[in-house]
Symmetry: none
Subunit: 125 residues, 4 copies
DNA sequence: GTGGTCTAGACCACC
DNA sequence: GTGGTCTAGACCACA
């Protein structure tokens, strides 16, 4: 049996995911300037180096770019952002179906549960 | 420095979830005797004290009971198990919809994505 | 006129190039274990973090891989190494021809100079 | 901590090389008057003192001479310029062969690579 | 004031 | 002892 009791997910990876979500969801708009590294670090209560590392990684993925001495910006590539958003949605969905499967629900049963939930949600609203 | 990044989730909590999942999914059947603590601890490659703590917690929730001198058993209360299973499914589902909402998909859009996914899944199969 | 009086090339980039050369030239053989990060850092008289960064980059390029708790190894992919070697050779060559062009030699003239040089070299030997 | 990583090459040395190249390549013609130090300094976006130092060095090497009250001129000694040009070419070439050797190519292999490259270059053109 | 880099020193998980 | 991560604090180039 494989045993990996959650070795702490590195902070910089958690930050990467958080920011990726902000960009994908449009909370950080394409082309928009982002806060200075040091301010971001304070906002996330993290060391500037850690933030720097996270942003460097996001830059490698193309979600952020740097203008020397001016600052960092969200990419202006709407298609890229859209792809990231789709990819995240897909990950969430697959993870959800996988969890349901572990609980013993096959896809059809899972769909039924979802539909019931949505129906009740609409009525409740 | 105080920060809000996931300090390790205590191992005993992780184990509780694992076992709860085994019971809810039927991998551990109702009324079935479970292995001695020490063996379970080995199986999970965990300290026996940690396993003991997890089992105690599960017992408080009624999912496990102890017969002195005989050992520990999964509850025989099928309804309780069924409720736990439903509850977990509900948690997964709410968490999923919540994530999708953070990504900017409302419930209708999310449903559409799910249906597309399921359709493609069936075709692919 | 563009002015960029060599801002120091970052040490970690210099190290990357040095190590890449060692691997491409076969001084570090494919599959061979490399020294621990901290020892390498001492050998290069550099901070361990700097060495770590360089090695991480090389790992992203596939030239190095890590076995947890065991150490780091040169890739076993001979083809990859061969490609890197070819690429470096090509870079050197293009840089050379480019320099000669700046000096006012076209490709034919450059070839002539090379051949003279090689001829003399052989005679001298 | 002492280490052997390229501390910035002094700017005046970089400028010397740049100007030497201009003279050797004929961009600055023999006997031609060169701009006043202050204008050159501006062109190179460099402190006038730095430019002065570079020109003084070039004068010591005979590539430049000063006529009091008139200004500075490129040497009229075509043979000297030609020699400098040859010497630079030779340096580039030796540096190139040396790099290739470090990569593990002997002179014959290097020649083969050059010829392949030139052949493809001509076809491509 | 901006990002980028480097050092020093520490802690952690894994074996 | 191995790699990986994090913090703190410093320095640099560029504009």
């Amino acid at each position: 049996m494989a045993n990996d009791y959650s070795a702490n997910v590195p902070i910089y990876l958690q930050i990467i995911n958080e920011i990726k979500l902000k960009i994908a969801s449009g909370e950080w708009k394409t082309g928009q300037r982002i806060l200075p590294v040091r301010e971001l670090a304070m906002q996330f209560t993290v060391n500037p180096n850690t933030m720097q590392r996270a942003l460097a990684e996001l830059e490698r993925e193309g979600l952020i770019y740097t203008e020397r001495t001016t600052g960092k910006f969200v990419t202006s590539d709407d298609i890229l952002v859209s792809n990231v958003r789709d990819m995240l949605a897909r990950e969430y969905m697959q993870s959800f179906f996988s969890s349901m499967q572990k609980l013993g629900y096959n896809m059809g049963q899972t769909m039924k549960i979802i539909e019931d939930y949505v129906t009740k949600y609409k009525e409740g609203k």
